[in-house]
């Protein structure tokens, strides 16, 4: 919004109208100014910057590269050459074992974990997108008694640190009789406060005339919401869908305290018990890293597919603010 005034200002600075006052400094600005022809010094600086960025970039990528490569290694190879980026010999044993195809049988109930993760993620994502939109719309646009109280309550609830709720959540699930059930895993995560907040902020930015026109035409509140406003909220809905998917796919602590039986283990709780808990045995690093890799892939794909879209929608939301 503020672009029109700033652009001429910066342009006028780049091409000063009164050269006299700028003259004494031009000599210096030719070496340090950002738009000046590049000197050797600044070129060296740029090279150093690239080298540093590349080195740090490698530090961020190397663990993933090692993880992928190790998933194709044998146990002895992984132990002897942890840094080598060439599996020797190349082995698909980890993948075969994870899906129960190996000679050793299935070392871990990977398909159960995967199935549970898919199941709870689908339900939680669908629930969050629907319920968060409903509540966000009501908090943004519907006038009802207690709305401000609810909104302030929402802000307060958002600041409750999740880790503090480990024990308390278990107490409630236990009292409600849904500890160690799918209901106990899914229902508490069907609504998330941050998602409600995101949707509310988005609905605030949609012009009111649109709804009022629909309402004058006789549409009910729900109809107005469902057929008029919600389709306009597509960017926010996509954002919320992806955030919810990522959040529930990676969720750990809630499933850890909400379940007990192996049949309810997800990729995160299953992997955690395999790596350091009850299932843990020996090193078996290729198998562990393969399981971790397979748990990462859906979120990674999502991230690479949607990040650009996300930047755009987040930025447009910021401008509307």
């Amino acid at each position: 919004m503020s672009t029109p005034p700033t652009t001429p200002a910066s342009m006028s600075r780049a091409t000063p109208k009164n050269p006299g006052t700028w003259a004494p400094r031009t000599s210096r600005s030719s070496t340090t100014g950002p738009r000046a022809p590049r000197s050797t010094g600044s070129r060296i600086l740029l090279v150093v910057l690239y080298l540093l960025l590349t080195a740090v970039g490698l530090l961020y990528l190397l663990p993933f590269a090692i993880q992928i490569v190790t998933s194709f290694k044998t146990d002895p190879d992984a132990a002897a050459n942890p840094l080598s980026l060439l599996p020797n010999p190349f082995s698909l044993e980890s993948y075969r074992r994870l899906f129960g195809l190996g000679d050793a049988g299935d070392a871990v109930p990977f398909s159960t974990w995967l199935g549970n993760s898919v199941l709870v993620t689908l339900f939680i994502t669908a629930g969050r997108v629907f319920f968060d939109s409903l509540a966000g719309y009501a908090l943004a646009r519907l006038d009802f008694r207690g709305r401000n109280l609810l909104f302030n309550g929402l802000l307060t609830v958002m600041s409750v640190p999740g880790v503090v709720l480990l024990i308390p959540k278990f107490l409630v699930l236990n009292q409600l009789g849904i500890f160690d059930t799918y209901a106990g895993m899914i229902v508490p995560l069907l609504v998330d406060a941050a998602g409600v907040f995101i949707m509310r902020q988005f609905f605030l930015s949609i012009p009111r005339e649109v709804e009022e026109a629909a309402r004058i035409d006789g549409a009910s509140v729900f109809r107005t919401f469902w057929s008029v406003v919600l389709p306009m909220a597509k960017p926010a809905l996509i954002t919320l869908t992806i955030l919810s998917f990522q959040g529930s796919w990676n969720e750990f602590t809630h499933f850890l305290v909400a379940t007990q039986s192996p049949q309810y283990q997800t990729l995160t709780t299953g992997l955690a018990s395999f790596v350091s808990g009850s299932l843990s045995s020996g090193t078996q690093y290729p198998l562990k890293l393969t399981a971790a890799l397979l748990a990462t892939i859906p979120v990674a794909l999502l991230f690479f597919a949607f990040q650009r879209h996300f930047v755009r929608s987040a930025n447009s939301g910021a401008v509307k603010q």
């Binding site: 950002p34 961020y60 319920f131 509540a135 709305r147």
Partner: protein, 391 residues
């Protein structure tokens, strides 16, 4: 956001700022007073219908648990009976005093976890803030090409599962793992990361020949504070804890980088250019123009880091479970084990509340120090949160 604040009758007279420029036109077409109150009546019903799932879920699984845990923290409850029928002993504030004031194993464990977490905060928060700021400045530089690629790379660890990442780090930091193999290239024989309980401070001072890490100085070892000797308080994070710190710095710097990036884009480029034209060098312009402009965001990142650092749980669960020698024990993990392993739910709940108090103090500091610009920053944080995961 408070322009929507004064509830009653806000439909009849929406402030001009509401919803951008749209509402001004809407006002003209607004139906008469009589039908407006009818709409309002219907809206009230619909409003509550729309928010009822949220109220139900957040009430049941966020508000109610806090109340229940507060009650349980006053009991000696083993998780077997029903804590609301009077079957469990009511012991008042004993759970709290056991971990805070009364000598004993409970307090030693809790204070050890607090010490560990303090060192964690002391190292992780500055490291991740500085790294995130440096990455943001580098990626924001107009002359660097491939910025979005670098931004993607730095941010990627933040979106992946903490459990999966911890598994990878466990492999990298084993005794004969990749990290030690790398260190061997430069002639360092790395420690056994996850089994080394030695404190960093004593190890470094020992390496310099100032103290003997294996022989605590008598004055420090025999006197103490809150159940731990001064020697223990001052030992520094253990080598094992350093791996957890490395993991957190590595995963969270991308998130904070995006917050810094968003803020850097709001720093007027003309300001920096003007400084450069005035003869400042790059470092001076960064120090005297960019940093002051970023001050509120730096502060935001530090407090978010503080709040997050007191909640460290996943990495500890996967990588060390508090071992070795309880040097990676954190209050969050202690609360979990007290409940689910030792079946001392009362003590676990009490620890959770003390942790809540610590985090609330951190939040409060943020609120007080950012009070004058509370609203823009708060909105910025939410958007930052979206953008954080988004890009």
């Amino acid at each position: 956001m408070s322009q929507y604040g004064s509830g009653s009758g806000s439909v009849a007279a929406p402030p001009a700022t509401a919803g951008g420029g749209g509402s001004a036109g809407a006002k003209g077409r607004r139906p008469g007073r009589g039908s407006a109150s009818g709409i309002k009546g219907r809206q009230g019903l619909w409003g509550w219908l729309f928010v009822s799932p949220m109220v139900l879920v957040l009430g049941l699984f966020l508000l109610l648990p806090i109340g229940m845990a507060l009650w349980v923290s006053l009991l000696n409850w083993d998780g077997q009976s029903n804590p609301f029928t009077g079957a469990a002993d009511f012991i008042g504030t004993d759970n709290y005093s056991n971990v805070l004031t009364t000598d004993g194993l409970d307090r030693t464990l809790f204070m050890t976890s607090v010490r560990n977490n303090l060192y964690f905060v002391l190292l992780a928060v500055p490291l991740q803030t500085i790294l995130a700021l440096a990455l943001a400045v580098a990626v924001n530089s107009r002359r660097v090409r491939g910025k979005s690629l670098f931004r993607t790379i730095f941010y990627f660890p933040s979106v992946t599962s903490s459990i999966a990442i911890s598994t990878v780090f466990l492999f990298l930091f084993q005794g004969s793992g990749a990290v030690n193999a790398l260190l061997k290239w430069v002639g360092i024989s790395g420690p056994k990361w996850f089994t080394d309980a030695n404190g960093l401070v004593w190890t470094v001072l020992g390496g310099l020949g100032i103290v003997d890490p294996d022989k605590p100085a008598a004055a420090l070892a025999s006197n103490g504070f809150l159940g731990l000797s001064w020697w223990d308080w001052l030992s520094g994070p253990s080598i094992a804890m350093c791996t957890v710190i490395a993991l957190i710095v590595w995963t969270s710097s991308g998130t904070y980088m995006l917050i810094f990036l968003a803020a850097l884009q709001d720093v007027p480029a003309e300001l920096e250019e003007a400084a450069l034209l005035d003869g400042a060098n790059r470092w001076q312009s960064f120090r005297n123009v960019t940093i002051p402009a970023l001050r509120p965001v730096i502060f935001l990142v530090v407090t978010l880091g503080l709040i997050g650092s007191w909640q460290i749980f996943d990495a500890v669960y996967v990588m060390s479970q508090g071992a070795p020698g309880n040097t990676t024990l954190t209050p969050a993990f202690l609360s979990y084990t007290a409940g689910f392993q030792d079946s001392e739910y009362g003590r676990a709940a009490a620890i959770a509340f003390i942790l809540l108090a610590i985090i609330m103090v951190m939040t409060l500091i943020q609120r007080v120090l950012l009070r004058d610009r509370d609203k823009p920053v708060r909105a910025g944080r939410r958007i930052g949160a979206v953008r954080r995961r988004a890009s």
